[in-house]
Each structure stands twice: as structure tokens, then as C-alpha cells.
Symmetry: C2
Subunit: 116 residues, 2 copies
């Protein structure tokens, strides 16, 4: 799950994102840092962008290994981190696992960070 | 096999953010991961949100130590990481250093992540 609930659009108007509007609590900061750590790695960012830019925002793990130049176990580890953080979903069809971008997951982080 | 890109190589309007539109290059991923690492820490997220929520989006280091419950050297280290990553600017007035949110820095990251 993604941290820090977003303010409902029907609530009173707010100036800006949760991060900028008021100090984060320790628990909110822990949750958000955990999610950001999943993104704070060059291989994971590349994998995420390759999946996102693929047709249907989905890619087979078999097509992700060559572009990033890492071993299959390493790629699988990074994909697991991204899946556990809520950015990708995983399904198995035949021999291979397929990873799909979770709609809205990156947008939620973007909204948490945006200052306006 | 390289993934299929969603965008045409024409001057048609761009559909979405760089991260989602096409695979990041290794250099782009390195840069973005470095910036994300500055945010992927609970103490730094709290410090950033305290500064951002302060009057004028500026705070004295002397007012940042107690809220996060860390030593002054540790707080100074985290503030330095955030400053080097471009999220805060630092100025010295009298005895104390003051940190200010750099306008647009968080928005820039938000725009890189946003899928639409």
C-alpha cells in the first residue's frame, strides 16, 4: 500500500501536497521512505520505465533481462521489490512471469511530492 | 527484444512523463536514482516537510533538531544530503544556518514520475 492518504477533493481546499503542507509524522515518513527506496535504484527505475513503455504497460521478464544487462536472479529481485512496493503487479502465463504497471501508483507518489 | 514504444516519432503531443513514455537510459536512471535516494530516508523526508511547512518555506537548523529527535550532527548531515540533491538551499545568518525549500525541486521529481 502507498503511504499517506491523499486529501479528498471534496474536502476544504488545501494549498498543496501532504509533504509540503505540514510536517510528516514519523510513521508517515517511514512509509513514504520505504516506498521511495523501491524507486531509488537505477536498475529498478530502468525496469519500471521499460515495463511502463511496453505495449499495454506489460512486459515478460524474459524481455527485461537483456536491456538492463543484469542476471535473471538480479532482475527478478528488483521486480519483486517493485511489486511489493505496489508499482508492478505480477502474473504467470505459461513458463514466464509478466509484470504490469499498477495504474495510479506512480501518480500517487507524484501527488505526494508535488508542491502545488 | 526492446519494448514497443507508445509514442510516435512525430511531433505529436507527448502522452506522459519521461519515466513512463520510454525506457530511461542508464545515465538518466543513475541521475534519478541518486536524487530519489536523497528522499528515501524517513528523517530526510521529515526534515524536508518541516522546512516546507515552515513560514516562508524556511527554517533554522536550530528549530529542526528537536522535532526529529536526532543529534545536531546527524540532522546537519541529512540537511547536507538534501541540499546537495537540490531540494534545499542553505544560508547563514548570524550563528545559525537556515534552510529553504528550493522552488520547483519537488515538482520536477513529481513530473518525472507522474504517468499522465
Amino acid at each position: 500500500m502507498l503511504p499517506v492518504e491523499l486529501t479528498d477533493a471534496t474536502d476544504a481546499p488545501v494549498c498543496c501536497s501532504p509533504l509540503v503542507r505540514e510536517p510528516l509524522s514519523a510513521a508517515e515518513a517511514d512509509d513514504l521512505a520505504h516506498t521511495m527506496k523501491a524507486l531509488a535504484d537505477p536498475a529498478r527505475l530502468r525496469l519500471l520505465s521499460i515495463v511502463a513503455a511496453s505495449e499495454g504497460a506489460e512486459a515478460c521478464v524474459c524481455d527485461l533481462i537483456e536491456p538492463v544487462g543484469l542476471s535473471q536472479p538480479t532482475v527478478s529481485h528488483h521486480l519483486k521489490v517493485l511489486t511489493e512496493a505496489g508499482f508492478l503487479s505480477r502474473s504467470k502465463r505459461g513458463t514466464w512471469a509478466y509484470f504490469r504497471l499498477v495504474p495510479g501508483a506512480l501518480d500517487r507518489i507524484a501527488q505526494l511530492l508535488a508542491a502545488s
